[in-house]
């Protein structure tokens, strides 16, 4: 009973704290000055059609580097907690159905290609490295579900992850040396606006982010699945 009263008090406290946010908030009619500058300048300056991408990858590129670092630390934490201590206890597992197996054989390559498409077109269409990486990881989940004996080569996974992470930093430093600042995309030719090979280094950076995120998420899933066997 006392616990319930406490819970009601805490909920009421949060409601009172958050209510002004909803009540006093008037929707904007205009873009804020900073957003206006981004929208006006980024197509000319960076050559990316997707303004969200130019904010994430270039204007706020350092934040994205921190985000990738947080994701890496979380993946490392999952790997640390779920590591197997030498025991290899196999429990009997039921194989998956024929429908799932055939469906996976058909869909898995398509999902991989779609993931690559999403992160290659991050500067033109909605999407980007993180989304593409998650799509790739979802394809791997399908593969793990369809055949329980699938073994993922962890060495390849770690190699892809560390190489793409290092290349991301290297591109950032190249921007510092050849262009105006860290993670500046303009050291490559900006190209024709709205085509695949445009926006300087943004497709390159997003490809490395996509590979890194994909490898990390596959690693997380692999750790969780291994723990069950």
């Amino acid at each position: 009973m006392v616990k319930k009263i406490f819970i009601v008090i805490i909920l009421g406290f949060f409601a009172v704290m958050l209510l002004p946010l909803a009540k006093d908030f008037t929707p904007f009619q205009e873009l804020s000055p900073l957003a206006k500058k981004y929208v006006e300048d980024s197509p000319e300056e960076l050559g990316a059609a997707n303004i969200v991408t130019s904010v994430i990858v270039t204007y706020r590129g350092l934040d994205t580097l921190g985000e990738v670092a947080v994701l890496f630390i979380a993946a490392a934490g999952v790997g640390f907690f779920l590591r197997r201590e030498g025991k290899n206890a196999k429990t009997a597992k039921r194989g998956s159905s024929q429908i799932l197996q055939s469906g996976t054989a058909f869909l898995f390559p398509l999902i991989l290609v779609f993931g690559v498409y999403i992160f290659l077109h991050g500067h033109l269409t909605p999407g980007g490295g993180f989304q593409g990486g998650v799509v790739i990881a979802s394809g791997m989940v399908l593969l793990l579900l369809s055949s329980v004996s699938t073994k993922i080569n962890e060495n390849v996974l770690h190699l892809v992850e560390s190489l793409s992470g290092a290349s991301y930093i290297a591109i950032g430093i190249l921007g510092l040396v050849l262009a105006a600042g860290f993670l500046d995309n303009r050291f490559l030719d900006l190209g024709e606006f709205g085509t695949l090979l445009s926006a300087g280094a943004i497709p390159l950076i997003y490809s490395f982010i996509g590979l890194k995120v994909g490898a990390e998420l596959v690693g997380i899933i692999d750790n969780m699945q291994k723990d069950q066997s």
Partner: protein, 117 residues
């Protein structure tokens, strides 16, 4: 005062209620995810401007007219970051849950008394 902001607020309250009342660790993690979603909704609704479209320059939104046609790109970028971090934190919490289940054979939070006072 917009509908989406209020819906986000309600989601946050539902999530906090779930975290406080549920005893199954997995359900507490689900409560956390609901709070996460509510925060994302509020952030997106702050950047939204009525009758405008996504900040992507293409045949529908010309470069010259973009300032009057697109929503604020910065909250979208922030929410993208927040979603990824939320995913990472959820994965970490689930791996804690797996480890706790291995230790005690139960997911009931009341069974874990070591740090209780």
């Amino acid at each position: 005062m917009t509908l989406i902001t209020i819906l986000g607020l309600i989601l946050i309250l539902i999530g906090i209620w779930g975290m406080l009342t549920q005893r199954n660790i997995i359900k507490i993690i689900i409560g956390f995810s609901i709070v996460d979603t509510g925060v994302h909704l509020i952030m997106v609704s702050i950047g939204y401007i009525k009758d405008r479209t996504a900040p992507i320059i293409d045949s529908a939104v010309s470069q010259a007219d973009a300032v009057n046609k697109v929503v604020d790109p910065i909250p979208s970028a922030l929410v993208l970051t927040a979603i990824v971090i939320g995913l990472a934190v959820t994965a970490l919490m689930l791996s804690y849950a797996i480890k706790l289940y291995e230790k005690k054979g139960t997911l009931d939070i009341n069974e874990f008394k070591e740090l209780k006072w």
